[in-house]
Subunit: 358 residues, 2 copies
Amino acid sequence: MLEPVVGTEPARAGLPPEMTRLERMLCACRGEPTDRPPVWLMRQAGRYLPEYRELRARTAFLELCRDPELALEVSLQPYRRFGMDAVIVFSDILLPFQGLGLKLDFSPGPRVENPLRSERDLARLEGSVAEAMAPTCETIRALKAVLGDETAVIGFAGAPWTLAAYACETTLSRDLAVLNALSYREPALLDRMLERMAEITTESLRLQIEAGADVLQIFDTWAGTLSSQRYRRFAGRALGQVLAALPSPRPPLILFARAATHLIEELAALGPDVVSLDWRVDLQEAAARIGGRVALQGNLDPAALLAPAPEIRKEVERLIRAGRKACGHVLNLGHGVLPTTPVESVAAFVEAAKHGTP
Amino acid sequence: MLEPVVGTEPARAGLPPEMTRLERMLCACRGEPTDRPPVWLMRQAGRYLPEYRELRARTAFLELCRDPELALEVSLQPYRRFGMDAVIVFSDILLPFQGLGLKLDFSPGPRVENPLRSERDLARLEGSVAEAMAPTCETIRALKAVLGDETAVIGFAGAPWTLAAYACETTLSRDLAVLNALSYREPALLDRMLERMAEITTESLRLQIEAGADVLQIFDTWAGTLSSQRYRRFAGRALGQVLAALPSPRPPLILFARAATHLIEELAALGPDVVSLDWRVDLQEAAARIGGRVALQGNLDPAALLAPAPEIRKEVERLIRAGRKACGHVLNLGHGVLPTTPVESVAAFVEAAKHGTP
């Protein structure tokens, strides 16, 4: 099923020819010099790719995640076309829930059918994250077998706050009515829920490290709904527990939060290697605010990939220049690739990134 | 159908006893001294009120907006219970679309059935905003007849960017895929669309001024999806056209944008009297950033009204202290009242606000 992956880039004058994609990615995450910023795209394996849509027409989303052979194929689809510096394992942040008795439904948005809302609900949360994550870990091992030391493999998990949002809401709206009600009415219960979620995040990442993930990303998709003060009190505290509980040394860790321009100082303070910015914040401004402490990832507006290719190239060049102000820059979008994105736009994005200078 | 509205508050020692709710609201918006910050709540007439739910059980949302007698009743429902300093007219930002041939559907979210996506679509946008806004204007006149010079009546409209979002998307998701695609692919078409929306916003506000609105609020609900640079280029530019086209002098104008912590400098620069903050930003920090230029409105987390009353009072006191750093503070939530909010919590919020000192 696997075709050969695209080759390394030709060496460029005056630059060390031996920098692999993996080295480039690791160095940028750690704030060490690179020949150019590494590049990958959030949701690079997804509906904008015809070969992905073809597979999805026959197979449900969760089945793709749970079948290591198919997940491997899907993870590699964008890599074969574009040769990004990193391949993220095809999986979902809610997968660990399946090992703990929470019933997932993806039709079409993610939903937990039996939400967690009380001490009793928390008590029934038993089972094995390892079992639920086994297919993803197997996919990571297969990716490493294919990609060797050439290209970075990214494992990922949901942040405790975001997992709690999915665990306790039935229809997830931007209000997070149930989770917010808990935070104001039963903060002690929410603390215990977040602690439990932190254990799940930690366990999921630990397993992916063991399976060979070179880099980790934590998605705190719903953190942006909190003020800084409440972020520190709830989401940030729980995320701190995760970072403290991970093995040391560990692979570089990227922390992503959506619509969280007001929180980037809080994110940086938690001690990830990289803060992944959404497109709302100017990368140069973010570099001035936190770029001395952590590397930055991002942050092209996903909608900018709907623009003509010359515009995309210009934007990438601008981002590369801005990224020089940070100690380390991983080129990426500010959020996932939109399903309506033309394949050629992703090609233009990656090509422009490869021609960037550090 | 109308019951007598609640009376004025008793005079308080050492303060001018003659400050009406209307005066308090106008002074705060203009950055002039008040005996205490005025208070009202976005979506104060809404589903958290049993008397509203009772009416809605019999009457569709749009019918309520279009029936001045019912809209008057609904506008006054929260005022009768809580005696806020301002009553916002019960209407909807999309109402003007009905006069221009756009078909609205509210089941349950707002949706335009025949979206605007081309020059041709724009050309067919003909008709009368005045006709569509007539019921709202009549409601404003009725509110003024009931409330006299006692209490502020707020008229409102959607900002051009937000109107354009509703006009061109069919299912409005946080991605704004169609609007964003336009902005990157056909910026000239989007400019013309935004110009047309700016005319609609202006006309709607002008009519409400004529009907007697004491204060205006512009809702730019979807502005927060833009980076500062793109906000200036699109949403801000169109909003600037509105502000320039309104009659002078005009009633104080409040500008609200959701999830726009990164844009508050841009909002203040447009020259409204008040910037309405969502709950993500610390009011004191916002005052430091822009509070010398404009008054501030806000910004309790709507979910905080799910907390016990003592917590709510503490939060209001904190907000009042923070608001002293701004030149003018209107107490409000950071967004609309959540439908699950207990009525007693709104009572606690308004009561705490009334006991605040300037």
